[in-house]
């Protein structure tokens, strides 16, 4: 039985969704995911959902509320608390022809399933010479909020490092729905990373069915003085910082949302840096060996002669996340840190 809190959340979101005359309406990130899952489960009876508490409970982030009632317990499966086991089962099912969408409650718990993700799902197709593949979609969530050291991490860099995986981290409902559908239909293993703090963000999504290819970054805001690069919640933070930088400092930022972390498209970034001559990367993960390091390396490779300042990186402080809220606020980069980094780049 879904919780009262979850009921209210969902009701609120339904009220917020309105369709405009172009067939575009604003829905939440969560609703976008729900629509994608619903459409794909309807279209293909081999699509199944698996995960901890996704069925009877409706999902710890309420994404799959009502799904078990609708599709039954054979297609919406509550797994035991065993990430390694359930990822192995999902991978095996995918090899056998099922299209599983596995939910790993948070990306922190994916550590327990690393071997199945990295050594199996990612490599099946290669090691079997293409005779088999493992089109498993693993949905998981980054995020934080007084959840403590072991529940507040974000490992996109670790997975984006692995050949054989596709890794996406959409920041908008439009991208979330389009990517999830493509991920389910595609033949590659996909790590689909959501963020617990953006499920309620609203954005335009067409009512007509659509998919988006799992590639490419997007310019979210055009500018001339510096290029801000981020993804997921970081992209939203960067856009907010860009607003303030324009109003308070007269600095014009170009903001790029990476969207897809593997394969990483830095062409758009490089083109932008050739225009602005400065780049700052914003990420919620720790700075050291984060994706920012890879992007910075590619910028200096491909746009070396266009850089007027070193590429800046803003990330979390290099500590396990504290529990206390005030300490947590110090660790995670906020608007101020982004603004500081931009001012530094323009120094």
């Amino acid at each position: 039985m879904a919780s009262t809190l979850a009921d209210l959340k969902s009701l609120e979101e339904d009220m917020l969704a309105q369709i405009d005359e172009n067939g575009i309406r604003e829905i939440t990130y969560r609703q976008a995911l729900q629509e994608a899952l619903t459409e794909e489960m309807t279209a293909n009876e081999n699509v199944i959902l698996m995960g901890e508490d996704i069925g009877a409970y409706g999902g710890s982030y309420v994404v799959t509320r009502g799904f078990q009632e609708e599709w039954g317990r054979e297609r919406v499966i509550d797994t035991p608390i065993s990430e390694l086991g359930m990822t192995g089962v999902a991978t095996g099912a995918a090899i056998a022809g099922i299209r599983p969408v596995l939910e790993i409650m948070t990306i922190n718990f994916s550590l327990l399933a690393m071997d199945q993700i990295v050594n199996h799902a990612a490599k099946i197709s290669y090691m079997f010479g293409g005779h088999f593949n493992a089109p498993v979609v693993i949905r998981t969530a980054a995020g934080w909020g007084q959840l403590g050291a072991t529940h507040s991490q974000t490992f996109e860099a670790w997975y984006a490092h692995v050949p054989g995986l596709r890794v996406v981290m959409p920041s908008t409902p439009l991208d979330a729905k389009g990517f999830l559908k493509s991920a389910i239909r595609g033949d590659d293993p996909v790590l689909f990373i959501e963020h617990s703090l953006i499920y309620r963000n609203r954005g335009p999504v067409p009512t007509e069915e659509y998919t988006l290819p799992l590639e490419g970054s997007e310019v979210r805001r055009e500018g001339t003085d510096v290029t801000l690069i981020s993804w997921s919640r970081g992209a939203i933070l960067a856009q907010g910082a860009a607003e303030e930088l324009q109003e308070e400092h007269g600095i014009s930022c170009e903001v790029i949302d990476m969207r897809v972390l593997r394969p990483l498209d830095t062409d758009t970034v490089v083109e932008s840096v050739k225009k602005t001559n400065r780049a700052v990367i914003v990420e919620e993960s720790w700075r050291t060996l984060g994706l920012g390091a890879e992007i910075a390396a590619r910028i200096q490779e491909d746009a070396f002669d266009y850089l007027d300042a070193p590429v800046g990186r803003v990330g979390s402080l290099e500590v396990p996340m504290p529990y206390a809220r005030n300490l947590e606020r110090l660790v995670i980069p906020g608007k101020d840190e982004v603004i500081q980094a931009v001012l530094q780049a323009l120094a």
Binding site: N277, F304, D305, Y306, L307, D308, A309, Q344, A347
Partner: protein, 457 residues
């Protein structure tokens, strides 16, 4: 254990370098990578850095001296190490010129005689360096001295701007785009400001000249205020090159008068056809002379050659430099393959090069080259003049103004007004002689007096 520091090869065609100044003194400690000397392979300066750490034990050459690439110029030793003798040069065979003095412990007396025997020209002209990147900026390879962003370095290369003259406003004194932008926009002249420390090099150079010259006689009683001007870097370069040229190349000067009547007529016709629609293609008198001189050179490859190391280097290509006066100096960009270009092409190229020369926007590969130079002072009404050859070229043509003059007509046995221009060819008597120079001028005269020949040729 002692290690030799040699004059490095810092350009494709460089075979000698001039030491401008030591940045460290004997006895100083050196950190690997630390700049230790400033050398000049061309119009711009480069620092060489210590390839190893230690103590700068001895410097073997003086500021202002030019030595061939590969010659040992300093020794790095251990702290406290004794170094008595000049170590054998790395390429000893090449430096086998008999030194007039035995090599003394170099800290006191540089082995200047030994190196003076060789061609001391730091190979400026044949420096197109098509393979190596242009060192148009005065930075050490590690960029230790001049901090500048990669963007700024690229812009400096593209616009031939000397970064050592720009102050950086970025972190750590880094030169960033906003610092260099005014130079690119042309608001400020190419930085050629006097260096901060008084440059001793010119004075030093006097000493290393083969015949030690007498000090300049000064009047016993000087009157009035004296303003001592430091020479800009460009001025220094011009001074150095002109002195070397005049000293090393015995100049002969041959003058010829040329009737420009038909050439001017041709010019008028051409411009009437093409210049109305396209002002960039307007052909000037100088453009005509460039074309004629270039075509005439086809028959005189020696005058199109370089004199280097007692040898003449002949060229297939005829690339004509023309002098452009710029603030406190001059620069001579060249038009490649001038003999094969149409007058329109020459006109456009010369306008573009002259404009960019004045704006400071020439790239080194546009002026560090060329096989024959033309200098024109006709616009000042000058009748004729003598020019100094641009080494290692062998000749230079000095062009005066075309003026109406009475010329004897043998047929009518009377004087008649003709539009005459005097040109004076200066030629290096080591490479050529009067007769050849005179024959060239005859050719040139024939071409300009019957200009159709230069179009047909």
């Amino acid at each position: 254990m002692a290690k030799n520091v040699v004059m490095p090869q810092m350009g494709y065609d460089m075979d000698a370098g001039t030491l401008l100044r030591w940045l460290k003194s004997p006895g100083d400690t050196l950190e690997r990578g630390e700049p230790m000397a400033e050398i000049e392979p061309d119009k711009v300066n480069i620092e060489i850095e210590a390839f190893d750490s230690g103590v700068l034990a001895k410097t073997l050459i003086e500021e202002g001296e030019t030595v061939p690439v590969g010659e040992v110029i300093a020794i790095i030793g251990e702290p406290g190490e004794e170094i008595d003798d000049v170590p054998a040069p790395a390429n000893g065979a090449e430096q086998a010129e008999a030194a007039e003095q035995p090599a003394e412990p170099p800290a006191e007396a540089p082995a200047q005689q030994a190196v003076q025997e060789r061609e001391t020209e730091p190979a400026p002209a044949p420096e197109p360096e098509r393979e190596t990147p242009q060192p148009a900026t005065a930075e050490a390879p590690s960029g230790d001295r001049v901090r500048a962003s990669p963007l700024v370095r690229r812009l400096a290369r593209e616009h031939s701007i000397d970064l050592s003259q720009i102050t950086g406003s970025g972190p750590h004194g880094r030169i960033v785009k906003r610092d260099i932008q005014p130079y690119i926009d042309g608001e400020i002249e190419i930085p050629i400001a006097a260096p901060e420390e008084p440059v001793e090099a010119p004075a030093e150079e006097e000493r290393v000249v083969r015949e030690a010259p007498a000090p300049v006689a000064r009047p016993a009683a000087e009157r009035g205020e004296v303003e001592v001007q430091e020479l800009s870097r460009m001025r220094q370069t011009i001074a150095r090159r002109m002195q070397q040229s005049f000293r090393d190349a015995p100049h002969i000067f041959i003058t010829m008068s040329i009737d420009m009547g038909k050439a001017m007529e041709l010019r008028k016709q051409i411009n009437a056809e093409i210049a109305a629609d396209d002002p960039e293609s307007e052909v000037t008198v100088n453009d005509l002379i460039i074309k004629a001189a270039a075509v005439a050179l086809r028959q005189f490859p020696v005058l199109n050659s370089y004199y280097v190391d007692d040898k003449r280097e002949l060229h297939d290509n005829i690339d004509v430099n023309f002098a452009v006066a710029i603030e406190d100096g001059l620069i001579s960009p060249f038009i490649p393959d001038a003999d094969r270009k149409t007058l329109g092409e020459i006109a456009r190229a010369s306008k573009d090069l002259a404009r960019r020369a004045r704006e400071g926007g020439l790239r080194p590969e546009e002026y560090a080259g060329g096989t024959f130079t033309i200098s024109n002072l006709g616009m000042f009404g000058v009748d004729n003049f003598t020019a100094v050859i641009n080494p290692p070229q062998v000749a230079i043509l000095a062009v005066g103004a075309a003026k109406m003059r009475p010329v004897w007509n043998a047929e009518t046995e009377d004087f008649e007004p003709r539009f005459m221009m005097e040109v004076t060819l200066a030629a290096d008597h080591r490479a050529t002689d009067g007769a050849e120079a005179a024959r060239y001028l005859q050719h040139l005269k024939a071409m300009l007096e019957n200009p159709m020949r230069m179009l047909a040729g």
